[in-house]
Symmetry: C2
Subunit: 321 residues, 2 copies
């Protein structure tokens, strides 16, 4: 959660003059998303979220992210619809930073997902993959497998200080992943950050996905592997196989996995844990003092890595028939 940029009433009025959304009736900074500043904006035309893009989101990536959200919304996927300005542009500028206004979504994220939530979330992810088919823009996964070794090269001391001996363990993991990483799985647009706080429910039902600011093109099954890491571990660090099977089953209701995709899930899940371990380790010491955000604990993903490292059971993520 974060509000980095503060917007005055005058700046807001100036921004809204570039849209056809009417005048502001309410405006509040909200604690949503760790990367950007978000505001609830109410006008006489409806309710919206204003996002101001901060560090990590590269301005040149925004046309992909916002274009994707528009595409998904046009293809009946429940996500926030970006509002164009009077000039037709989805991306405007506030205080020299890129900004966008999207529709407000109802729904609540769940803190501790149960089995039923995991099934619904799996369905929502598969629907996303299907709805994104045909989206004409591309974006490489700059946090994909090829990025991990270079990223780790600057983090060896940080890993050691987190836990003595960890640097060597991670280096061995990275070699293992590099040797076995599948490269021929079906590719497509993936969310790449499909965590419980980026999924809204209404009651027990999947309602919407938010925060597409890591979306990219990569193996579709890798997106499911990210989600299995994010949704199916218990607070005590144990992996909930029932939740994982429910998530895979929910996913397969809309998009059945191929044999190679299913076989790859354990290595993809190991890699997905590595990706979040590395970026959390990177953020752990790098969060600016003034930021209204607590960095996430890299040890959570270090523990998940250990689970994947020891898991040899290929049926971990689903029943093989």
């Amino acid at each position: 959660m974060a509000v980095y940029t503060d917007i005055s009433d005058e700046e807001l009025a100036e921004l809204l003059a570039r849209y056809d959304l009417g005048a502001a009736q309410a405006f509040k900074g909200i604690a949503e998303g760790v990367e950007n500043s978000n505001f609830l904006l109410e006008t006489d035309r409806g309710r919206f979220i204003l996002t101001i893009y901060e560090r990590r989101v590269r301005p040149e990536d925004l046309p992909f992210f916002l274009g994707l959200m528009s595409w998904l919304a046009d293809h009946d996927y429940p996500c926030a619809t970006p509002m164009p300005g009077r000039d037709g542009e989805l991306i405007q500028t506030v205080r020299g930073k890129p900004a966008a206004i999207v529709g407000f979504l109802q729904g609540l994220s769940v803190r501790r997902p149960g089995v039923a939530h995991c099934r619904e979330a799996g369905e929502g992810l598969a629907r996303l993959h299907l709805a994104a088919e045909g989206f004409p823009m591309g974006r490489a996964n700059d946090l994909g497998q090829a990025a991990w070794e270079p990223l780790f090269s600057g983090l060896k001391d940080a890993a050691e200080s987190l836990k003595p001996g960890l640097a060597a363990t991670i280096a061995a993991d990275l070699a293992h992943l590099a040797a076995r990483w599948p490269t021929d799985l079906p590719q497509g647009v993936i969310h790449a950050d499909y965590f419980p706080d980026n999924v809204f429910f209404q009651g027990e039902r999947f309602a919407a996905a938010i925060d597409f600011y890591f979306a990219c093109v990569d193996a579709l099954a890798y997106d499911l592997a990210v989600a299995l890491n994010a949704w199916c571990f218990e607070a005590d660090g144990s992996f909930n196989i029932t939740s994982a099977r429910a998530m895979v089953a929910g996913y397969e209701r809309h998009r059945p996995l191929s044999g190679p995709e299913r076989d790859a899930l354990p290595i993809l899940a190991h890699g997905a844990a590595m990706r979040f371990f590395l970026t959390r380790l990177n953020d752990w010491g790098a969060t600016p003092a003034g930021a209204l955000v607590r960095p996430k604990d890299p040890l959570e993903y270090e523990r998940k890595l250990a689970v994947h490292r020891s898991a040899t059971d290929l049926v971990l993520f689903g029943d093989r028939s």
Copy 2:
């Protein structure tokens, strides 16, 4: 702005079961108020703000604050209406902390109030003083003049480290204020924190006041003096007499000041600046590391104190006829 307490979907559902407001459809932490955690809550019955009371707000004061808000709303004053639980209580408990749900208010606070805003804000403050007449509960101003010397006794080193020589200057100010502080002015319920971020406008018009968590019984004109400090200084530290006269004139449209009240405005404004200087100085080093809040700069009020110290012009705050 602050969100100290995070509430899970399960805790929210448990809380809402104690109300007759329906189920949550949206729930977001919002950056409003520096003392408490606030959340936008949308249910099928409407939109609300859930406040969880953190440090500084004493639980035993909450019946006064929430009773006052209910009283004001019942007396047509535009402020958030507290919602009772099924048990009739305005104050419930979440995570062992007191909490309340109030109606959502439309309107925006202004960052840099102009003369017209000051006039409107003055009107809104007088209307508050009139609407609160007859409210049967009382609460002493624990940050009133009698509290300043004891508070400062623990802050002398902090004042010196802020600015060498400042401790002696503040001590002289406090003696000056103690010797001349008026004690026979009309008393009533005051807001006591009537800053621009606690006042909502719709367009150019006063729309509502929020954040009654410093409200107490004290001299009504002292409330105006707090507001003059909060609204009528320019960013460069100069006092805008035009804004101040507009605020007083707006106030007097609804509640004309007595001669003694008008004469007392300069000393009251000096004292009001002292109150905020002292509490900001106190907070400057005391904000916990994990708090998602930036402490406010005590030097802003140190500069305001200097203006009041040198002001001998009794007509500073309004035309005397």
